[in-house]
Symmetry: C2
Subunit: 393 residues, 2 copies
């Protein structure tokens, strides 16, 4: 067996990893907008990218490396996504890296911000050349990658294996908004000193994505820049496949939940559990339909236990279902049970009480099989409109 | 050839059709909430219903009639959808119709409002028994069926055939909001005295739906109650298949556009034209993705020509596309052309000017084929949240 303990601090708690963030002049208000992760040895690296057909330049740049490339540097900017910028976007990344006076091997770039503007490369070059690669300022990095995030997102864990060996794993991430369908870019940088073999990394990353980032995002409806990057310097000398996969899943779940809770202007983090669906695909379809429904989201914002919108969204998702088998509950308050409306004044008051919480679960028992999936979402209020009506300008 | 002229008034302009609306006590504020359409002869009838798996009781009630049934009466209430009400919902409709002191044949019910509440059938019976079936008060009917609609929706046309014969066709409808994905119920009642044969009615209705109501709605993501009903009393003695289909399409287009313009709190009606896509399916997918994107809608609300969000949404829809062939324009202001960003200060100002209008077109030339589809949508602002956060209570 193994144990996973949360520990304080940022990814720079891991031996050999360094990071920092600065204000390079991309954002107008003096906030941090450029950061880096540096490793004093070469790292194995794996990534999961957006399925958007218009992948941004940094994603294409990464994929131009050979399959088994190693790296010691990730450069991250906010404010400009370097997306829809064609060959120029790729050339800009090459120009930036060839202009840096650090000793870099296969450097990776990652960007988030407005789509369709050329990268301000002079500002980025000047800023990156001022980096101290021996810095350990995780907090600065975490704020440098933020866009509409209300707060920075990070976590750290130490894993203790049965034989007493330990390794560390942690992440820094950005992403806010309903994630989907609103296309807020999600970036997540995971560092570890586990001696994970290269061949295990992609499998672990894909596996963990399914119940974490993919549970807060409808497949395929993603930003041009979404990226999850896993860097392994293998310095700990310790590894156990199961422990590593579980720790990675935990890290990604933490980051996903922080993104949901940071929905642009959101006050509520809601788990939408669909259970006893006819198939896993149908469970996912219905759970994600709920977490993405504008009518459901606005009802949650209004703290209104309008279970009819829940039912209607389930029906509109066209999964196998019947009024005669459907059960709907807010936490443990059942409001609709197999064709029967359980919504007298007392029951409505109880349901309304659940909706006053910051976190709660809405369960839909479809009663057609045994497949379950939980999607995570948030409410949608005035703040969301305010943020997105004037994000660019 | 034939001519189609818009004429004044409501569906009661058609000989043999009568209608009215009253306040029966379902809505609290004294507004009309119960209406009817009566025909002094039996009408041929056809309908198109929601694809939601939880069809409301009135839709099931309709479908319990024999395929070739005729009717002389439609009863419509707002405020309560009679959805998720099971057998009780069906029984309530039977109880209502068996309690009415009018001479009705195969009466049809239609409901819109909150899901998951039993119908207040005593109020409806009392109200319906007070109806004067010889009334011609189209305006009252049109307001009685409203829920979150900002204004009532209706149109009337007279069609003149080549031989000088004429028939009339018109509609009264309700529906507001982004229609999709927000599930605002859409009801549309179309009456005509054209001598359309029963066998032509379903074909014409389905054909016209494709480019009208379906263009403002993603297939399958619909309310529990969506209904388009076509009543033909055949009194005019005149008919031409092509003329009828075209007039029907015009009526449904009018109603669809009024619904888009009445998006809950919306200020802008926007046509999203996707052209030169690889297939019609892809053109539809991309056009509807644009009209449903929260990020696009909020940018339109902010009058922000953020074409990156347009591009990203096209890419996220996973249709066949490439930056090298994509062209994006606001009306005739091209901002992105085959990999090239045309967005200097002057061009941005021109694009922003387009967005100040109440109506405009956003065109995405995919450059991968020759299929086109236009979807219609609107902006999303604070008012939408306000309406939907407290709609039920």
């Amino acid at each position: 067996m193994f144990s996973i303990f949360p520990i304080k601090g940022y990814i720079d708690q891991i031996e050999g990893f360094y990071c920092d963030g600065i204000h390079a002049g991309l954002k107008v208000k003096g906030n941090n907008d450029l950061g880096f992760i540096y490793s004093d040895t070469l790292c194995e690296v794996e990534a999961v990218f957006t399925e958007n057909r218009f992948q941004a330049a940094p994603l294409k740049h990464y994929q131009n490396y050979a399959n088994d490339f190693k790296t010691n540097f990730v450069l991250i900017n906010s404010k400009n996504a370097n997306a829809m910028t064609g060959q120029r976007g790729l050339d800009d990344i090459d120009t930036i890296f060839s202009s840096l006076n650090h000793d870099l091997t296969n450097p990776i770039m990652s960007s988030t911000g407005v789509i369709g503007n050329p990268l301000p490369k002079e500002l980025i070059i000047k800023g990156a050349n001022s980096f101290d690669l021996s810095a350990k300022n995780g907090e600065n990095l975490s704020t440098a990658i933020m866009t509409t995030d209300a707060y920075s997102k990070h976590c750290m864990y130490e894993v203790e294996l049965e034989n007493g060996e330990t390794f560390k794993i942690g992440a820094v991430a950005k992403g806010a908004g309903m994630i989907n369908p609103n296309l807020a870019t999600m970036l997540c940088f995971i560092c570890t000193d586990a001696s994970v073999p290269k061949e295990d990394m992609q499998e672990a990353l894909k596996g963990a994505s399914h119940t974490t980032f993919n549970a807060i995002s409808v497949d395929g409806d993603t930003s041009t820049n979404d990226t999850v990057l896993l860097l392994a310097n293998q310095k700990s000398g310790s590894y156990n496949k199961e422990a590593f996969s579980e720790a990675l899943r935990l890290v990604m779940h933490d980051m996903a939940m922080l993104m949901v809770a940071d929905g642009e202007g959101a006050k509520k983090a809601v788990a939408f559990e669909v259970k006893n669906a006819a198939s896993l695909e149908e469970a996912e379809t219905a759970a994600k339909a709920l977490s993405n429904s504008l009518l459901v989201k606005t009802a949650l914002f209004g703290e209104d236990p309008n279970f009819g919108r829940i039912a209607s969204t389930i029906g509109a998702s066209r999964i196998t279902c019947s009024e005669e088998t459907l059960v709907i509950a807010y936490n443990d308050v059942v409001v609709f049970k197999k064709g029967e409306i359980l919504f007298d004044e007392a029951q409505e008051a109880k349901a309304a009480q659940v909706l006053e919480n910051d976190k709660y679960k809405i369960t839909c028992d479809i009663g057609q099989g045994d497949a379950s999936f939980t999607a995570y979402g948030c409410d949608l209020g005035y703040k969301y409109v305010e943020i997105n009506a004037d994000y660019r300008t």
